[in-house]
């Protein structure tokens, strides 16, 4: 018994050590964001700031409207992840609970969107957005992120493992499809929906090229664009950009920590089932 306890402590220490190693790049970025320029690249290297300074954060916030960018990113990421969640659930519902003509083809087409290189479509999509007059709008920024096939894939696998009999049982009760969808399917899929929401939020929050292209007003720019503005191409000064990086990271990490228990608890329980 004692040996087992000791082993447990050992495993925990090991895991925490490992976690620190994995987290090292982020912790290092945090440390650099608190260093003054000369301490960043020095001999011997500084792991911790010799003297803590908040100058980099001051620069980050005065040089760019960082709060505004974060708000924009938040709005866009929230809109997109909501939409992804809703649309993916609907599509996965169709793919899992209905038999219809062209089902296999439509599903194959859905999966194929994962394999299309997004950068090539950008100008074409820009043209569409520009003709719709959606340049410089939140909807324009969101547009290409409103749906994601990976979410549909994930949810479909989850729903397939969801006993079909449950739906039949619901029908006996005289449940109509919409009611089954909203009253039974959605509530029981909360953990997986959390995953979809969270991973969507993070991925949209981290988008850069598209949000930059379809906005040319400072008030609509997102956080990743802000980070680029802090990056110094000419002189490679790292402090302010690392301050920006840390600021950009805080919301996603917080969100992640809040929801983490819930994801792990229920994600992929049924996993893939054909």
């Amino acid at each position: 018994m004692k040996a087992k306890k000791l082993w447990d402590v050992f495993v925990q220490l090991f895991c925490i050590g490992l976690a620190l190693v994995i987290l090292f790049p982020i912790l290092y970025a945090l440390s650099v964001s608190l260093m003054d320029q000369r301490a960043v690249l020095a001999k011997p290297p500084n792991l911790l700031p010799p003297k803590v300074t908040f100058e980099n954060y001051r620069i980050a916030f005065t040089r760019t409207t960082l709060w505004r960018y974060m708000l924009n990113s938040f709005i866009v990421a929230l809109l997109c992840s909501m939409s992804r969640m809703v649309i993916a659930t609907m599509a996965a519902f169709a793919f899992s609970f209905f038999e219809f003509k062209g089902k296999r083809l439509l599903f194959a087409l859905t999966l194929s969107t994962i394999m299309v290189p997004p950068d090539v479509l950008i100008v074409s999509n820009f043209t569409t957005i520009s003709r719709l007059g959606l340049i410089n709008t939140y909807l324009g920024v969101c547009s290409i992120f409103l749906v994601s096939a990976t979410n549909i894939f994930l949810l479909r696998q989850h729903f397939l493992s969801f006993a079909k009999s449950l739906k039949e049982a619901a029908y006996v009760d005289g449940c109509r499809n919409i009611r089954f969808f909203t009253a039974i399917l959605l509530p029981t899929s909360k953990p997986i929906l959390t995953t979809v929401f969270l991973s969507s939020f993070v991925s949209v929050w981290n988008q850069y090229v598209w949000p930059m292209l379809v906005t040319n007003k400072n008030e609509l720019r997102t956080i990743q664009v802000g980070i680029t503005m802090l990056k110094d191409r000419e002189s490679s000064i790292f402090g302010p950009v690392m301050a920006g990086v840390i600021m950009a990271l805080i919301p996603t990490v917080l969100l992640f920590l809040v929801f983490q228990r819930r994801i792990v608890a229920g994600m992929m329980t049924g996993a893939v089932k054909e």
């Binding site: 320029q37 003709r131 409103l146 292209l213 040319n216 503005m229 990056k231 002189s235």
Partner: protein, 474 residues
């Protein structure tokens, strides 16, 4: 949860998107006719009235200015813009808004160009020399020549550094106005040079000779660090000969398109490589670039070669730990004109079918090249004031007194002739990698002079083929 609402909203949105995607083709056709001169005027007057209505009744002309200045350069750019808005802008009813775009600024421009979306085009855009190929044949490019040679212009060609003017000219006509200019410089550690009793080298040969000594007799790990990219190579080509040498044909693209290299045919490339071989063979040269600023500041190198805009950064990093200075880059041949060409960016005006905006845009551009705006570069950015009259300002004198090294780059530009200009290289991101790879292999002793030359010439040829295959010259 108000999922229902969200669903309805999204559905509606996607429907709208679907519908207009189908009808989109027509509007594009209409847009492209504006390039046809015959129909231009008609389309224009409509757009003009629309734009005037948009501006509202207060008579303010709203201008959009796209730039890709980051960090401290962005700070100064913002300062320049607000000074304009508060002075000339207020007086003439013009208000400029600066918008940051992804470096090198061409992504958003080409997107707007290919959709001819004039509502979302800038009035003024900052472009680097290598992007001029994108706009030189574009129908909406407004040539600066049309304004600068006018009688009302307060900015005159004579006010500007001569080779900065020729750098922004095609067939002797200015297409853009130089704005954020820097020059390739030699940075040297004076303490080390004193320790070996050497002067600042004037030629590559002199430089190669002192490199081993720097390593042997000082704390320097290497005598010299420079990664030779297109920028560096072009400078060593351009500064050759009595009057300067062109890197590419058609005067490096300043008269007609540059379709091939010229430096391989007139011997200037070979001559440079021959001299550079001495540097390589010195064994005290580092051909790759890591964190050159910090490394130089920590005394790892006797000399480094990089752009003048890093002077403030180096000053901050060295912070008096040793004496250092900047000088024009060592020349290939003692008889060469030397100096450097003005690298960096200029401002270009686009025609958004609105004459008032064009005129206003010129007011802004000429301000950005004025002494008042240019002197601001000295506040930490290290760009060279492109306007010669800047030297008369107290602010300039003060800045130079504080940091005399800032004077050297502009002297280097003045030293060179009008022929010492950057080439309008098409597809320069590819040629840049080609040159970089070839010169690193050469510098590491993995390629001979002949192999290096061949790699550069053939790689550039392929890059030009790529470009002109897609963009044939009509």
């Amino acid at each position: 949860m108000n999922m229902k609402k969200t669903v309805t909203f999204l559905l509606a949105a996607s429907m709208v998107a679907g519908l207009s995607a189908c009808s989109g083709q027509g509007s594009n056709d209409a847009g492209s006719t504006t390039t046809d001169d015959g129909q231009k005027t008609e389309a224009r007057s409509e757009a003009e009235t629309a734009a005037e209505v948009m501006d509202g009744g207060d008579g303010m002309e709203e201008l959009t200015f796209w730039h890709s200045m980051d960090s401290i350069f962005a700070d100064i750019t913002e300062k320049q813009i607000s000074l304009f808005n508060e002075t000339i802008g207020k007086e003439k009813g013009i208000h400029v808004t600066g918008v940051f775009q992804n470096w090198p600024g061409t992504d958003a421009l080409t997107a707007a160009m290919s959709t001819d979306d004039i509502a979302n085009m800038p009035d003024v855009i900052q472009l680097y020399g290598e992007s001029v190929s994108t706009v030189r044949d574009y129908a909406r490019t407004v040539w600066a020549e049309d304004y600068i040679s006018g009688t009302e212009a307060t900015l005159k060609k004579e006010d500007l550094i001569p080779n900065a003017v020729s750098s922004h000219s095609i067939d002797g006509k200015m297409i853009g106005v130089p704005w954020g200019i820097s020059a390739l410089m030699l940075y040297y550690n004076q303490d080390y040079l004193d320790q070996i009793g050497a002067e600042v080298p004037g030629t590559i040969d002199e430089m190669a000779k002192i490199l081993p000594e720097l390593v042997a007799k000082t704390d320097a790990e290497y005598g010299l660090n420079v990664r030779v990219n297109e920028f560096e190579l072009e400078n060593w080509i351009a500064t050759q000969g009595q009057g300067g040498t062109y890197f590419g044909n058609n005067e490096s693209g300043h008269a007609g398109h540059m379709t091939e290299l010229a430096c391989d045919k007139d011997g200037s490339l070979e001559k440079f490589l021959g001299e550079w071989e001495k540097v390589v063979k010195s064994g005290a040269y580092k051909p790759i670039r890591d964190s050159i600023n910090e490394e130089f500041a920590q005394g790892m190198y006797g000399m480094v070669i990089m752009t003048s805009s890093r002077i403030p950064t180096i000053a901050g990093l060295v912070d008096g730990a040793f004496e250092w200075g900047v000088a024009p880059i060592p020349v290939v041949d003692a008889a060469d004109v030397g100096g450097a060409y003005p690298s960096g960016s200029g401002l270009f005006i686009l025609d958004r079918d609105n004459k008032a905006k064009k005129t206003a845009a010129w007011e802004f551009v000429q301000f950005m090249a004025s002494p008042e705006a240019q002197v601001m570069w000295l506040e930490g950015a290290g760009y060279i004031p492109v306007n010669l009259k800047t030297a008369e300002l107290d602010g300039y004198k003060l800045a130079i007194e504080e940091e005399p090294r800032l004077q050297v780059p502009s002297d280097a530009l003045m030293m060179a002739t009008e022929k010492v200009v950057p080439a309008y290289v098409p597809n320069s991101s590819t040629t840049d990698s080609v040159i970089k790879d070839a010169m690193i292999a050469f510098g590491e002793g993995n390629a001979t002079k002949e192999e290096t030359m061949k790699a550069i010439v053939e790689g550039c040829e392929q890059a030009f083929n790529d470009y002109y295959r897609a963009n044939p010259i009509d």
